[in-house]
């Protein structure tokens, strides 16, 4: 049975502050009762991941990892969400590994495939930037060096 998962674009849309607050209060209330339902955890974690603040994303991924550890039945979905969370944070390496595992289990999952493409694009983009930066630095370096040498030879 294919798992129902959101497209990565959904993760970019964040909840309003109030909604996140509600989810957080719900989560903490259940914490005090020492029994947190999986749904509450997920709601809060997903809300955190969706937010643009990096600390929130980190916390969200941490809670998702808790769910992953604690609920074997939910693991497959969590793989996707963990991949998504890491992707948003920029940890492409981890994102790739989680997503790869999910695709192993469910090759036909559309969202997982699209996420894989996104991750690859992100990695490539950073590679280009890196290359451009390296090239630019190399160019500047040679210019500076040339200038120094010229100054030295001129004297």
């Amino acid at each position: 049975m294919p798992t129902e998962l959101p497209y990565a674009a959904d993760a970019e849309v964040s909840l309003s502050y109030d909604e996140l607050d509600v989810l957080r209060i719900q989560y903490q209330k259940e914490l005090t009762q020492t029994h947190v339902t999986i749904q509450t955890k997920f709601n809060y974690a997903w809300g955190l991941v969706k937010s643009p603040v990096r600390e929130h994303q980190v916390e969200g991924v941490r809670i998702l990892q808790d769910i992953y550890r604690g609920e074997p039945t939910r693991r497959r979905e969590c793989l996707y969400y963990l991949a998504l969370g890491h992707y948003k944070m920029g940890n492409f390496d981890e994102a790739k590994r989680f997503n790869a595992l999910l695709l192993e289990k469910e090759p036909g999952n559309l969202q997982a495939q699209s996420l894989a493409q996104l991750i690859d694009k992100g990695v490539a983009r950073e590679g280009y930037i890196g290359m451009a930066l390296a090239g630019g630095v190399a160019a500047i370096g040679t210019i500076v060096l040339a200038g120094l040498i010229r100054r030295a030879t001129r004297k």
């Binding site: 998962l5 999986i38 709601n43 941490r62 939910r74 693991r75 920029g90 590994r97 930037i129």
Partner: protein
Amino acid sequence: MSQRQQQDNGRDTSSTLSKLEVVQKAFMAPFAHKKTDSTRILSDLAPVIMTPRMITSAASRSRSNVSSSRISASRMDFATLGRAPLRLGVGSRRITSGDLQIVEATEELLEAEVPEPDGVASNVSLLRGFKATIPSAEKGRSRRKQMRNIETPRLGLKKLGMSARGLLVEEDDRDARSTTSEDDLVLVPDVNARPKSKKRGRESLSTQKTLGKEELTRQTKEIIRDKENIHVRRSLINSEIAEITHKIEALDSIRSKLEQGLLKLQEDELELDDELIGVNERLEFEQSSSRLQTAAYPALHLPPSSRRRKGPAFLPSEHEELPPGTLDSHTTPITALDFSEPYGTLVSASQEDAQPRVWDLLSGSEIGRLRGHRGAVKCIQVEDHVCLTGGEDGNIRLWDLRRVEEDDDGWGVGEMVNLSDVAEEDEAEELIDRPNGIRAHESVAEKDGPCARVLEGHSKAVTALYFEDECLVTGASDKTLRQWDLTTGQCVMTMDILWAISHPPTATPGSAHSFSGSSPASGAFGIPMHPYADGTHDTYEDFVGGVQFWGYGLVSGSGDGAVRMWDMRTGQAHRTLLGHTGPVTCLQFDEIHIASGSLDKTLKIWDLRTGSIFETINYDHVVTSLQFDTRKIVTATGENGVKIYNRTTLQHSTLLTNGHTKPVERLRYMDRYLITGARDTTVKIWSL
């Protein structure tokens, strides 16, 4: 470029970046910012390069991450470089412990198994649940309600009820709408709208307002979706409930195991207490017996200590082999049995057999027989080498079991030979007016080797007896109890049960007897018994089911269903315990309780001091024999198995393995050594 050299050390990045590091240090100098302690040194040098991955791989080189990172190093390094402008643009990037934790955890998580989702997980995905439970799920509903202008506070039924009862109601109506309410689902507050809508009051959905087709279809879709949401939430809650139930069951099972452990400890403690008492008694006995060494041995020296309080006679470590299981030589159902000690001597009697058999329990073989009685033997008691039997002929015989072995050889020859031995033996304590000559002419049946004495006096069958030291009490079907002195062989007192019945000690005029099965005054006493487990049934004719005494207090169980407590000094029954609705068949008491079993299929335990019923145990068939101690009650209840009731754990169990094939009639145990006799004519020995 000495800095470059320094930076090259301790780094596993490729050499193409060395120039880069210098440049970036220049870049990053103005962007000084705080870091966590662990990463400060490394990240100060080149913060962008030292992404979390690099840091952790530098920190723990043994990880396979390092090797895999080398493989993809070339590509990823550019990627990590690419992060530089992003970071510079966005601002300071802090590597927190959270990041580290996440990254470290990925390793172990990826190792974990990913099973197929089932149950709730497959029906309701997390995302679906999210959509169903987040606050905005209610938006559609609230919007529709606002459209209808119906004031819909959270019903607050509880508050209504409380105010109706006049209790103080907290004014938190406003809070009900805030995020701190108890309700899961909270309307994202629209505080401004409320004051206005409150004043508007209730306006029902009037038909004057036209909402338009699109609006209505939208509403129907929303409603359907909300219903689905409710369905989703319900299944979520159900799954949670199921999980919690499992957890509770697991905890309950753990608790019951612990409680069982507690009970075992209690049993052990009681056992140790018993052992201690026994050992102390033994100590006293041995100390006192060492002083009595000069006593004449051949005298019929009845052991002074009561067997009821003997120490651990059966120490399992002394006898490695299990006792012989079955003794089979009777031909009719067993009527009585008793033994001296575990692995000692057993005497058993059966119906229509006037000769009880004597067995050696070490070898499991028959030593001899006790000849002398003219009818069946109904009750036996054995103490060391002394045996007392009561028979249907109304006589009680005293036997010396040591002599059974001597006589065994000489059975066929003629009993004359033995009489001379007997003459010498008896001289010490026998009555002087019995000359040898008379004895020689007397019929052998009256006096033989083992039989030391005959006590006559009862007119009907003797059905119960109990002796201790030199005192014997017997009960017979002539409805009397007699007390005898064993040294002289004379009856000291006769206690008439009939008289006690018609003159009850406590004058309560309306005290009818528990049952009107038979009139005790009539001559014959016979009560048809309830059938045994195998369908057979007898007519119970024994009027006195059991007797026991201690000091001068005597307890008897009789055919009218009453347990009577007598004072042997006066011969009067000072208390009658009524409760059984059938004749009492067996009886035993200790310092605290009296246990009596009867034909009414119950076993009652009475408090000795107050005479009130402490406990009643119901069985499926008649109770014919019992014995109890502080920890257990062993009963023969007309079934093939022996019933054991554990008084500590209040649990019943049955001994059936290799058991009898017909109902058990009699039993006797000492410590862990149990002997039972049944209607299948066998005597079986058990280890408890």
